[in-house]
Symmetry: C2
Subunit: 162 residues, 2 copies
DNA sequence: GGTTTTCGGATATGATATGTCCTTAATCCC
DNA sequence: GGGATTAAGGACATATCATATCCGAAAACC
């Protein structure tokens, strides 16, 4: 059970977009260059964010992406689910139905007990991600990333932002 | 991000093994039949449990599997990790290192902030699974599964247990 | 009109999950 | 001892999905 690398990409890209001044857009090309990622494939991740209404786009030169909501209004789970999908990590195939001792046509009243426990764990995972806002990540980064790197990165970004 | 179906199989098989009387073994064949699973492939899941020392085996006719510990001493996480592996669901590829604004040879003091958050969620998932004991599952099942099906299932099992 | 961009579809490739088959060694029964 | 049954594990085939690239269309800018 492993998350797509696009999840990591999307999170880092959102952190950059969160630092963009009001009304500016950043292109896939710039985001790919900044993170050393394949532009075409990163584009798919950004499209997922767009379909989830987490980012807005505009076309043409000086086009690209910007956040559709304030960083404090976007949480990690939204970003992760936009790329990874909302499906639970455990899927119950109801193998208990194959039990030869079951009366034919017997119907379970509840979901399988095994599945309920696995789904509870899944929900704990989602809860943790739901509690972390994009603005929290930006706050941590601005504390931890050395000031000169932080500054020069955003200079680099602004030079390319339309 | 989806767990292997073997995880579901292993959990159901452990629940059955937990109901086995002291000293008896149940074969892959019986477990596969009971759950409607491909015997050869289920065997791989059971081997994983064996390598994790969660079950013990013996060969020959009347051979098979039994729990290596009491159901109250085995938790869900152990079973899940035995089959699925212990690797975290999020792998950090450190794309921040590709930032062209970084001084060459610069070394991060901490793991990436994005990864730390994703790992925290992963740990919440594991914590939930760690808190559920195999005996808890058996307790729930014995309450929820209709008494006649529960009983006939274990008659079926005992007839095949070596 | 030419350039740059997002978007979506088509396609290729690689890794992993799923599933089958076969051999070996141990155990049981006769 | 010999035959049957079992777990263990390696080899192999197939299917599904992640990763990646390419292309054409439509929109925006110059």
């Amino acid at each position: 059970m492993i998350l797509k690398s696009q999840v990591e990409w999307a999170l880092h890209c959102c952190a950059i977009l969160a630092g963009l001044p009001e009304g500016r857009y950043l292109s896939t090309k710039a985001l790919a260059e900044l993170h050393g990622l394949p532009k075409e494939y990163l584009s798919k991740a950004l499209q997922s964010l767009s379909q989830a209404s987490l980012v807005e786009t505009t076309l043409g030169p000086s086009g690209g992406y910007r956040l559709a909501q304030a960083p404090s209004e976007i949480n990690f789970l939204e970003i992760v689910e936009a790329v990874e999908g909302k499906a639970r990590s455990f899927t119950c195939t109801n193998i208990r139905e194959n039990n030869p001792c079951r009366p034919a046509g017997y119907c379970d009243s509840k979901p399988c007990a095994v599945a309920r426990i696995m789904w509870e764990a899944d929900e704990a995972w989602r809860d943790t991600l739901r509690r972390v806002r994009l603005s929290d990540l930006v706050g941590t980064l601005s504390e931890e990333v050395p000031a000169d790197i932080w500054r020069s990165t955003f200079e680099w970004v602004l030079k390319r932002a339309g």
